[in-house]
Amino acid sequence: MKRGNKGYLFILPYFLAFLVFQLYPIIYTVILSFQRPITLIDMEFAGLENYRRLLTTPIFFRAIGNTWYIWMVNFVPQIVISVFLAVVLSEGRFRGREVLRTLYFLPNLVTAASIGVLFAVLMDWRFGTLNQVLLQLGVLAEPINWLQMPRVAQGTVSLIQWWQWFGYTTIIFMAGLSAISEDLYEAAYIDGAGRFQVFHLITLPLLRPTMLYVLVTSLIGGLQIFDIPRVLTNGRGAPDNALTTMVLYLYNQAFHFFNVGYAATVALFLFFMILVFSVILYVLLNRDPESARMARAARRRMRT
């Protein structure tokens, strides 16, 4: 063997694993998407039937809408609060900030399924803590079946997601903040910039790469949300499919309704949707002229 070829041996294990565990399943998913079930395990060729069905099924579109809604309602406040907390915890030299940072991060260590069960018990309409407290305080005269109200159920999932992830996002932003040179802030303050100006013109523009990372990873995770809706609704996506997210829909088609072919079609759609939106986000946040312009503007203002 030529010496120059030996390097291939070292990269071979990765490629073998990639072929077996990643590329093959993707190709097989594409093949499955053209099949329909005869029995639990036997399939037959179905042409484009699954794709036609996918594009004419109202519940699937509902699932897409639900997933985006749940993600947006969780993500927007998460970004705002996390950036705020990151700035406060990074700048402030007060006692106990390490403890706070740990406390914020703790929910991220609890499994989503446990949190789902916890909220299902808290929000139970007859015996749940929330209704009991509201009844005791006289806010309610009759218990409200919160989890049967579509918007409340979706809001609950968003809240759980927010609670689970805001600490993690805060820490990521703190890491991003620590990479910003202190000199810039110092120069800005010497030049008479206010706190808001510094935040708006230095912190935010320079947090852009961190923001991009948070946004893309949150989008990928958020569009694949599955565990909490499944636990809260026992896999049914109730009330009225308000918690049927794309992956829950996919899972139910494959494992409750035994239609692996159609589920594969949903999976491919989900894959391309995440891909397209990740690219869009990347392009939007990485527009060089824009960031260059903002950086120039920031520098100019600091000099004046």
């Binding site: 029995t39 639990l40 099924t57 109202p58 519940i59 139970d124 049967q148 109730a238 009330p239 009225d240």
Partner: protein, 444 residues
């Protein structure tokens, strides 16, 4: 001691050739062989651990068949996936596996289990001694028996005796049954309980508890060809459920939710609608956990009454894998567990489970008395109920259809949509998993 005696009984019966009962001469050499001559190792998969307790009695009769038992939970569809993968790859393991009522019809339609009616198994010879619906439900498209079961699961209604005494003046199951055996009177009883206790006690923990007997009130399968029919009884159930909620006849808990379980112990609920397994696996451990754990005596607060309509719920079937390479050994296990009268008697006496062998049921039904039920004979009760069960309308998609219907009932009960909207949304939901259904008929 009782257990040892029973095992000894099985041994004696086996040596007399009783366990081979009814087998025809067409049986293969291996299957016709004396139990002691069958030797080898089989693998059994199940989602429930009770099968593991059957190995010891089995080995008393078949000492040379080693059984490796694997429990795979049904949570997250883990069990279904394992079975599907094994069948897809035509794996020789497992030799024997179980299926639950909720999905075992899918196994049968997919041909996962060996058909057992013909030679060399000749399971038809066993049918006369088994509860009819148990074998009828396991027939495949060609009418062949695909699996057996050690149990039958007729339904009942568990009631709280103190509430019955307060409201009806008697806790005699016969008196209570007069009020629980029709839906109209049952509802009326609910209003009486509400009025008696100022709406602090309820007829049911949740209206959903009634679903099983409502769904069993059909005469035809939901899906016939490309047409799906919802009978009028299901629409009536929607209305009754809403009335119950609005009139505070039920407590608003979902079946299997934590409040549902806790209301068994707090005395606030009059009745639970559960089948045979509900007594030992649901009621006892939740209503009287200390007594169930052996730390106290049962108080005898509960009784059994006739539900508004007969029903069966759940049950586990066991069959020989189509791809097993030791079908003679596998069949020996399935036949023993699913029909052997001595084993069924042992099983009934040691676990209290309601077994499927009618000869055994007839022989032992008078001997039971459960302290949890204040000495009431649940076996006799279930024996009477099992005669009423009709399963001719059961199909492979029942669970999914009923779940979709139940989701809409809940939204209607909560006042979130009209009955017409609920029915329209049900049609959308059902087409999502039954794409070949072109017509949905809801009888009203």
């Amino acid at each position: 001691m009782k257990r040892v005696l029973m095992v000894a009984m099985i041994l004696i019966a086996a040596s007399a050739g009783v366990s081979a009962g009814g087998r025809q001469e067409t049986a293969p050499a291996a299957a016709a062989a004396a139990p002691g001559e069958l030797a080898g190792r089989i693998v059994v998969w199940s989602f429930t651990d009770e099968v593991g307790q059957m190995i010891e009695p089995f080995n008393q009769v078949y000492p040379n068949i080693e059984v490796e038992f694997v429990v795979i939970p049904t949570d997250g569809e883990a069990y279904l996936n394992r079975i599907n993968n094994a069948m897809r790859s035509r794996a020789a393991t497992p030799d024997v596996f179980t299926g639950e009522r909720a999905f075992f019809r899918q196994f049968i339609d997919s041909g996962f289990w060996e058909p057992l009616s013909g030679a060399p198994y000749n399971a038809e010879a066993l049918v006369g001694d088994l509860v009819e619906y148990v074998t009828e439900l396991s027939r495949d498209g060609q009418g062949q028996i695909s699996a057996l079961s050690w149990q039958a699961t007729p339904g009942a209604l568990f009631f709280r005796r103190d509430i019955a005494r307060d409201v009806l003046g008697s806790d005699d199951p016969a008196v209570v049954s007069e009020w629980t055996s029709s839906l109209e009177r049952y509802y009326e009883l609910g209003e009486m309980i509400r009025d008696h206790y100022n709406a602090e006690r309820f007829l049911l923990s949740g209206y959903m508890d009634m679903q099983e007997f409502v769904y069993n009130q059909r005469t035809a399968p939901y899906v016939q060809g490309s047409r799906l029919t919802i009978p009028a009884s299901l629409v009536e159930f929607m209305q009754v459920a809403r009335d119950m909620r609005q009139n505070r006849v039920e407590a608003g808990a979902s079946t299997w939710s934590p409040p549902w379980f806790s209301s068994m112990a707090d005395g606030s609920v009059f009745s639970y609608i559960l089948p045979t397994w509900g007594l030992h696996y649901v009621m006892k451990p939740n209503a009287e956990p200390d007594a169930h754990a052996g730390n106290a005596e049962f108080r005898g607060d509960w009784g059994l009454a006739v539900p508004p309509a007969p029903y069966s719920w759940g049950g586990t079937w066991i069959g020989v894998s189509r791809h097993s390479r030791q079908k003679d050994l596998a069949w020996a296990f399935v036949e023993f567990v699913g029909s052997n009268p001595e084993f069924h008697e042992l099983w009934a006496r040691s676990t209290g489970d309601f077994v499927s062998n009618t000869q055994v049921l007839a022989r032992i039904k008078d001997e039971f008395s459960d302290p949890f039920l204040a000495g009431q004979n649940h076996y006799q009760f279930f024996y009477d109920q099992v005669q009423e069960i009709d399963v001719s309308f059961i199909g492979p998609w029942d669970l999914q259809i009923q779940n979709a219907w139940g989701d809409q009932v809940e939204l209607y009960v909560n006042g979130q949509k009209s009955i017409d909207q609920a029915i329209a949304d049900f049609e959308v939901a059902v087409r999502d998993f039954l794409p070949n259904v072109t017509e949905v008929v809801v009888e009203r």
